[in-house]
Symmetry: C2
Subunit: 169 residues, 2 copies
């Protein structure tokens, strides 16, 4: 087997998003047990000028679907940022995963040299498929999944790195 | 250009560890400006039963050097976990990067099917080179770098995701 653009992206995103969804289940159980206010976890910020929990999950999802769609050359599905509850965030993850599951290896493999231009804050960021995946999409994806995890951990949700990694044993 | 095991590991680890070192510089400047106790940041934990900041940086380093060494088939350099200050953690990162820079592409490329067995907590975890890199080393590496970042951000150090990504513009 040879490492490919598909293997390094779509199945990894699907796996980690599944782990994140299971982590949200634990957060939900924690919130119910502690009788937390509905937005105590979802609106939580690690620092006042940092994005809240909800946005971390949304951006993790958007990074995954944006990367898969751009590499595969298909339209990026539009998901409005309307989620307010953990349950709604689980649905956001589920529809992201459903989209990722439509992407076939042949659509993504061989896209190393493909030109990808991101527009961020009025600036154009030019990438190749390879640099986009390794230098932008991958570190961003793990950043937002881990930040969401850290926020829950900081708030006492009983999760561990095995939940993040999705290790069974 | 074709994605390879080397490209997906060693240069990415070197880049992120460089970004983390620059983030430690900002943490140091913050600690001096605020006259923080010497261990206020390094001993900080996001939750009492979570590993402190120092361990997050050490494990990020160990994940990178372990992955590079195991894939390349060379001995993993032993680095004792003695760091207590941000300056010492920067040295830990620097010696990790110095080791990573000795690893050549030909040592890592083509290791997708190589058998790699980790021993964690008395259990043996069997991987191929590919599954080890994508399912274990990469998510662990980003987890600990991001957690270190989140701890500093939570403590008011003025850093942003551009510091984590190492974006210049």
């Amino acid at each position: 087997m040879t490492l490919s653009m598909f293997q390094a992206s779509v199945p990894r995103f699907i796996h980690l998003l599944g782990n994140l969804s299971a982590i949200l289940d634990k957060a939900q159980a924690h919130a119910e047990m502690k009788k937390l206010a509905p937005d105590a976890l979802t609106a939580y910020r690690l620092y006042p000028d940092m994005l809240p929990f909800t946005r971390q999950v949304q951006i993790a999802c958007d990074t995954a679907k944006g990367a898969a769609a751009r590499l595969a050359g298909v339209d990026i599905p539009k998901h409005e940022d309307t989620e307010k509850t953990l349950e709604e965030l689980k649905e956001r993850i589920a529809k992201t995963v459903a989209f990722l599951q439509t992407i076939q290896p042949a659509q993504v493999d061989g896209t190393e040299d493909k030109s990808i231009v991101l527009k961020i804050g009025g600036h154009e960021l030019p990438f190749t498929g390879l640099s986009y995946l390794l230098e932008f999409a991958t570190p961003n994806f793990f950043f937002h999944v881990t930040t969401a995890y850290a926020m829950l951990r900081h708030n006492g949700v009983e999760i561990g790195k095995r939940d993040y990694l999705g290790m069974k044993s």
